[in-house]
């Protein structure tokens, strides 16, 4: 896969270089027409200026990017910008401009929308954020994505933009919503237990290979319903890593006969204080 990464470096940003210059240089270069995957990283002040101009620019220049199959908007670490502060926009122009797009990854969710999402070829959609708004969740649950195989949503917490409830997430658990879906991630949620309870007997499990409920606040309560579920064994993999379950629960989950990831327990009673070492 031929990748291109567009990002302002810290030093370029300090010197006053702009992201627009970077993008113009890129689409003007002969190599643009070969690029299959485009990563958009730090664009200056992502907490202040949204990705709107970038998304529009890429969409407007789609004819110069004939092989583009994957896009990542906001590929930066928290060392560059607090993830929950990244200002996004409506991604609709990308879907219209790139009918051959197969993968879209988005980091950051402020003002993120995926309105009127209807795309024949998209296989993978990932949204990494501190909290996903219910508008964006609704956009996805109304989307027509006949080829979608992998849907991974960081739902987050209300401090960082999650303003929904389990009722907003439920529509994503409908069997056949995305007929080819094999991987469903409803993760990094502050209501991870509710999600586990809701999905434990949901018919969608009959079509999935991987259920990813990792990175959230899952406790024994949610885990118990997964354990009791009659459908969970149809999965190939259940990802519950980073959780608040007890040792006992972790052991039980290990015995259900499918691959269950219970790594990275967040035990509460560990001692985290340290004496300063003088060096």
């Amino acid at each position: 896969m031929i990748k291109e990464r567009l990002a302002l470096t810290y030093d370029e940003y300090e010197e006053g270089k702009t992201f627009t210059e970077l993008m113009e240089n890129f689409v003007g270069s002969p190599n643009a027409k070969e690029v299959e995957y485009l990563e958009v990283g730090f664009w200056g002040e992502p907490y202040d200026e949204s990705s709107d101009n970038i998304v529009k620019f890429i969409a407007e220049n789609s004819s110069k990017l004939p092989k583009l199959k994957g896009i990542f908007i906001g590929d930066m670490e928290s060392d560059e910008c607090e993830i929950s502060w990244i200002e996004q926009c409506d991604m609709a122009p990308l879907f219209g401009a790139f009918p051959q797009l197969e993968e879209l990854v988005i980091k950051g969710s402020n003002n993120l929308r995926l309105s009127s999402l209807n795309h024949a070829n998209l296989k993978k959609l990932v949204i990494i954020c501190g909290g996903l708004g219910k508008d964006a969740i609704e956009d996805i649950s109304k989307a027509q994505l006949p080829n979608l195989e992998h849907l991974e949503l960081y739902l987050g917490e209300d401090n960082y933009g999650f303003d929904g409830s389990i009722e907003d997430i439920k529509p994503l658990m409908k069997k056949g919503l995305f007929p080819k879906l094999k991987y469903l991630g409803l993760k990094d949620s502050e209501i991870q237990d509710e999600i586990a309870v809701e999905i434990a007997e949901a018919p969608i499990l009959e079509q999935l290979e991987v259920l990813d409920l990792s990175q959230g606040t899952l406790t024994d309560e949610g885990a118990q319903t997964l354990l009791n579920s009659s459908k969970i064994k149809n999965l190939k993999k259940l990802d519950l890593s980073y959780h608040y379950m007890s040792e006992g629960m972790m052991k039980k989950l290990k015995t259900i006969g499918i691959d269950v990831d219970v790594s990275d327990p967040q035990g509460e009673d560990e001692e985290y204080r340290y004496p300063a070492v003088t060096e």
Binding site: T9, S78, D79
Partner: protein
């Protein structure tokens, strides 16, 4: 060879043990160890250990609460608490007590030792002299000295005495992301990565500081788990407290990442050469290894050979500012994308990186060899 080493340190500490092991490996006789606590309480005198051609090594006073209390007591003048109160402090794991007063005490102690050693009237050598250690320990002094000598360091914000002033300066200079550091500390104690978002006036701080409010008072602790604060009350209290103790505030550089983790490098520089080095990789803005971060090989970080040379040269340039010292642990990070090196810290006791060898020797062995070479060359 018959060389006498004297270590001023905490005898129970692994640092002292490792140094003795290194001497043994080189077939040298063990160093005499004078404990900080004995020197501080007067139970022992440094003069008694100084004879001709002795080499004196100052080790870290850290990880010993009695010593910490005595140093705070020694810094009582213009301090927060009296010597008596200092000696009565109760041990609590991770508690940060009066770091500025501690530093004052440590400086007085070092000056006193320096004085007494000089007055002993013998030929002696320091591995690292007290004066350099005093400077390296104060990030304000040290970073200024580095900058004035042309070493690449992050830009510094002007002096701030409170949270409000920090806000003002950040707005004035349009700098949204800074590191607020306790000026006189180490091992990531009192280090905060702080950023403000002009949109909606949000702010967030990642820090090793854990703040606890008890009976209307603040107690601060070092936390191995990076804390994230978004409430103005917590952030303000922490910044005010650090400013009260003396703050060093500099621009937060976007660190380069490797496999989605940010990294910096600890480069132990001995004599004039960058020797032992290790990459420190982290998912948080603080890469210090004791916080549970991962070690890595500097050679594996996808840095070009040119950039690597530049990084090592920058460490050597930083070390060059302290010519009278034999060694220092230099922390260097490189900016994301451009790989411009920045020296963020010079650690007087930054040579504890067990298991890392350079030309077959650990840091201690390499330091001893360099010392002996210097003597043989007659420097």
């Amino acid at each position: 060879m018959n060389i006498d080493f004297v270590i001023i340190g905490n005898p129970e500490n692994r640092r002292v043990v490792f140094f003795q092991q290194a001497l043994e490996l080189l077939n040298l006789k063990p160093a005499k160890v004078v404990s900080y606590i004995d020197l501080l309480t007067g139970a022992n005198k440094i003069e008694d250990y100084i004879k001709d051609d002795v080499i004196i090594r100052l080790e870290s006073p850290g990880e010993n609460f009695l010593v910490e209390k005595e140093l705070i007591a020694l810094g009582e003048e213009d301090g927060w608490i009296s010597a008596v109160e200092a000696r009565g402090l109760e041990y609590e794991n991770g508690r940060i007590y009066y770091p500025a007063q501690w530093y004052r005490g440590f400086c007085s102690f070092l000056k006193r030792i320096d004085d007494r050693v000089n007055k002993a009237g013998k030929r002696f050598q320091w591995m690292n002299p007290p004066g350099d250690i005093i400077t390296m320990f104060d990030k304000r002094l040290c970073q200024k000295l580095l900058r004035d000598s042309g070493v690449s360091v992050p830009s510094v914000l002007k002096k701030c005495g409170s949270y409000e002033e920090v806000q003002e300066v950040m707005k004035e200079t349009n700098i949204r992301r800074v590191f607020v550091k306790l000026a006189c500390s180490s091992s990531a104690s009192g280090i905060c990565a702080y950023q403000i978002n002009p949109r909606g006036d949000k702010e967030v701080m990642y820090t090793t500081v854990e703040i606890v409010r008890r009976d209307g008072e603040l107690a601060l602790y070092n936390s191995l788990k990076i804390k994230k604060y978004t409430s103005n009350r917590d952030i303000k209290d922490i910044i005010d407290w650090i400013c009260g103790q003396g703050a060093h505030i500099e621009v937060w550089i976007h660190k380069e990442t490797f496999e989605r983790q940010v990294f910096d490098m600890r480069i132990v520089t001995i004599g004039e050469s960058a020797c032992h080095n290790v990459a420190r990789l982290s998912k948080s803005p603080m890469t210090n290894l004791h916080l549970g971060n991962k070690r890595g090989n500097v050679a594996d970080l996808n840095l070009s050979p040119d950039k690597l040379v530049g990084i090592f040269q920058e460490a050597e340039r930083a070390k060059g500012v302290f010519k009278r010292s034999l060694y220092a642990g230099i922390d260097v990070l490189v900016s994301k994308g451009g790989h411009v090196p920045y020296v963020v810290d010079v650690n007087a006791f930054g040579d504890l990186i067990p298991g890392i060898l350079y030309k077959g020797r650990d840091t201690y062995g390499a330091e001893i060899e360099e010392m002996i070479n210097n003597i043989e060359r007659g420097d």
